[in-house]
Symmetry: C2
Subunit: 254 residues, 2 copies
Amino acid sequence: MEYTVQALARLAGVSSRTIRYYDEIGILKPARVNSSGYRIYGPAEVDRLQQILFYRELGVSLDVIREIMLSDDYDGIAALREHREKLLEKRRQLDVLISTVEKTIKASEGRIVMTDKEKFEGFKKKLIEENEKKYGREAREKYGDEAVEKSNRKLMNMTQEQYEAAEKIQSEMFETLKEAFKTGDPAGELAQKAADLHRQWLCFFWDSYSKEAHAGVAQMYVDDERFTAYYVRVQPGLAKFLRDAVHIYTGMNK
Amino acid sequence: MEYTVQALARLAGVSSRTIRYYDEIGILKPARVNSSGYRIYGPAEVDRLQQILFYRELGVSLDVIREIMLSDDYDGIAALREHREKLLEKRRQLDVLISTVEKTIKASEGRIVMTDKEKFEGFKKKLIEENEKKYGREAREKYGDEAVEKSNRKLMNMTQEQYEAAEKIQSEMFETLKEAFKTGDPAGELAQKAADLHRQWLCFFWDSYSKEAHAGVAQMYVDDERFTAYYVRVQPGLAKFLRDAVHIYTGMNK
DNA sequence: ATAAACCTTTGCGTAACGTTAATGTCAACA
DNA sequence: TGTTGACATTAACGTTACGCAAAGGTTTAT
């Protein structure tokens, strides 16, 4: 049984280019070459090609396949085990991806529902306008237009459920923070829990979280009198305490 | 807030090369270029980059991202839904891959256990030698060395459980075939079931199944007197009947 | 003044082929 | 015997999303 490139390609269900490429990179050389320069493949090559395709189907790179086939003492099982780990890791990543995409779709669908609910829409719009009036200019100057606008958009896009969840987190954060303040230890368990809740609350409004930004906001609570004033109304010294807790939480306390 | 390439890169957590590449392919152009040719990015570009990175994290290609961002009327949700389907398909493929790899590993482990079981080993070796003596030369001539050797290797690598399962399938196939033979209809339900069982039995010995090869084996049962003799002992005309059933089963009956 | 740390463009390299171009070969049919 | 169509060959560029290096200009700090 001898095959020319195309015959072998059809037999194996790959393109003739693939066959020639495998010759080119030296993992499947023809049994012989006839007088016209045609590649002629025999039974041994068919067998070899099937092995190559087997590994290829498993997602092993041709480079690795070459090594597998070159060395007789190659531990194929160990390689496969390693490869399986890679595949599992890939699937984990894929799962995260899928859930993110689904969340995004759901959020978008939520937004559609939301635009229908005009009352809630108006409410949030008013809330944004109020925010803009109060802190808009300064925040824009400090953090740039894009941060403010994104925050606003984020708020616009929030569904009622999300909004309520955010408020709940925030009040929980304040309760925890007040309890923590009594202990006077910003590195303590309660204070760190408050810092974590603060992070959670921030994540309702931020597209991406970073330690630096979190620490920055905490510092802002101290630097900006409006925020400080708000915190002072709850408890004098609370803004600084939260800042210290967050700076420890984020590891930015050096 | 203005950023140079490296500043923006650090902000976004990507390389400066990536930023320049995005300029090159036109999905993120700098706000302006200063007198020294430095790229300067403003708030709008930061925002745009974050959008790009968002889609990129979802595994969307830059080409598609470009289209998403170019057209205002682009239906982002529909695109994401489509993308989700692709991701799910990818995960299905990955799952198949993983289970195949795991099966392969298990089979290999089985082989290791098997080599320990010397009795069974010897038994199978004898079986292979017998097969070789009986049909080896002819089969090699007809189907090539690689097919025979692969079949032998397959048999060698079979665990006892697999071997018993294969024998069980074979006897079931014969029972069904004899029943079907009574009906005289190779296209009938019973005969087709026998053909399917025959395929299952073959798959214990073959690395890859193809209709052509299956039909070829069925034809061999008729052409080769040794096989015919075997079938005749069970029931005269059985080999031809099986061949007809298999040819119908594989769609090779034209 | 000088060095370090930036910035720029240009261009090659990656994996596994797909695609095109220009040309040669083979089997079959009129 | 000539022609046609299906094959074969090599060579070379294109693909993705950048990494890396070279060669040189700019900015900033000491």
